[in-house]
């Protein structure tokens, strides 16, 4: 009797589960796209059964790792420079680069009313303003451009606190150490309107976030399926709900 039970149990184990035939895609994602990426990953898995393994981080650091043969198959950058560089450096597959989202930068403060964001910046009634490293994060660069356009560069520079990536920039603001900061709209969806000031698009160069298929994933059908899914209607709907725009 027990023997039969054991046979049945082993039989269940031996049955090829759905997962046995499913693929796995390894995707490196810029920190600002964390929340939408997770949603897209879930939708992708629901549709195809393939699992997505995400690694979130600063674009610059992710690229450094990719250049040292990190096993990522797809790279979702925060800018359009890095994917182009990947192709030029022989790390990315030519012809696979496309803009998956256009970023929107916002001014966020949990304590100051920023409905009139320009006015708040001009008044300068804060000790610290957090920004992502402008040399590596396009959201940081955009923040500096906005400040420059308002003629406040000198006034603001003394109060600037630089986050290693856009997630850390948000941490500085959320923990109260910095009263205010420039972050990505997708990071603060759901916050009250008085806490978030959407910067007018004409005040900064567009943040074109490009994706590229890396050589590691060139022959992986799951990786190619993910890239195609990212362009599709389900993914673009998710991307829009998080406050990004799509490339025209």
């Amino acid at each position: 009797m027990r023997f039969i039970g054991l046979l049945v149990g082993v039989g269940f184990l031996a049955l090829p589960g759905h997962a046995a035939f499913a693929g796995e895609v390894s995707v490196a994602v810029a920190a600002n796209f964390t929340k939408p990426a997770e949603e897209i990953g879930k939708a992708f898995t629901a549709m195809t059964g393939d699992t997505v393994v995400f690694s979130f981080g600063a674009t610059g650091l992710l690229y450094a790792q990719i250049s040292q043969a990190a096993p990522f198959e797809v790279f979702l950058s925060a800018d359009n420079k890095r994917p182009a560089q990947a192709v030029a450096d022989g790390l990315g597959v030519e012809g696979t680069v496309f803009t998956y989202a256009v970023g929107k930068v916002v001014l966020y403060s949990p304590s100051i009313d920023v409905t009139d964001g320009e006015g708040v910046l001009k008044a300068g009634a804060f000790q610290h303003i957090a920004i992502a490293d402008p040399k590596t994060a396009p959201y940081g660069k955009a923040g500096l451009e906005v400040v420059g356009k308002l003629g406040l560069t000198d006034a603001i520079t003394a109060k600037l606190v630089t986050g290693e990536n856009i997630s850390q920039t948000l941490q500085f603001v959320e923990s109260g150490n910095s009263e205010i900061g420039f972050v990505a709209l997708s990071q603060v969806t759901g916050k009250p309107a008085t806490r978030v000031w959407t910067v007018p698009a004409e005040d900064y160069s567009p943040i074109l976030q490009d994706a590229v298929l890396l050589k590691t994933g060139e022959d992986d059908p799951a990786a190619k399926a993910f890239m195609a899914f990212l362009k599709g209607p389900e993914a673009t709907d998710i991307i829009r709900t998080f406050g990004y725009e799509l490339a025209q």
Binding site: A64, T136, G163, F172, S178
Partner: protein, 225 residues
Amino acid sequence: MLSLSEIAAPVALSLTLALVVTALLIVIATPIAWWLCRSKWAGKEAVAAIVALPLVLPPTVLGFYLLIALGPNGPGGAIASLWGSRTLAFSFEGLVFGSILYSLPFMVQPLRNAFEAMGDEPIEAAQTLGASGTQTFFRVAMPLARGGYMAGAVLSFAHTVGEFGVVLMIGGNIPGETKVLSIAIYDYVERGEWGRAHVLAAGMVVFAFVVVTAVMMIERRVGNR
């Protein structure tokens, strides 16, 4: 390549931070180490374990809780408000405070070992000869423990120069204020300026080598007597 002015600021900042922290640690760790050595209280090893926590905790954990503690909702904010600031984070003072916590066991443990190694005899002899508690400590115990002081100072200094995780969490990367050497190297790597990162890192490797050699030589000469 790297201009001198580019290197000068983070190097000077790291060295200044390490010197200040080491000096403060000598003052702070001495009573702790002395108490841990001499106390007969049953709970003293629990205190020793708490002091040793930064040895085991990932620096990012320490940095994370420091970020909260240094902020306007924590004790750091209260201290900072004495000079009109909202937070201790993003400042040299904040780094000093964080580094003291981070490097505390590196000063307390060598000191405690040195105090324990001298045994009770010198203390008892001094007291028999009529020395007061203060005299006994400063003129008998401290000189006898100088191996521990040297080892602790060198280790704390080096540990503070190498600090990264904690500074990354609470520093804010402000040039001339919180952008220390380890952060500068990390920045160069992230920007793809690897040549500069190599130069700075090579300097740190040489420095680390000198430190380790110094500690070993000191321990040989002064430690085992």
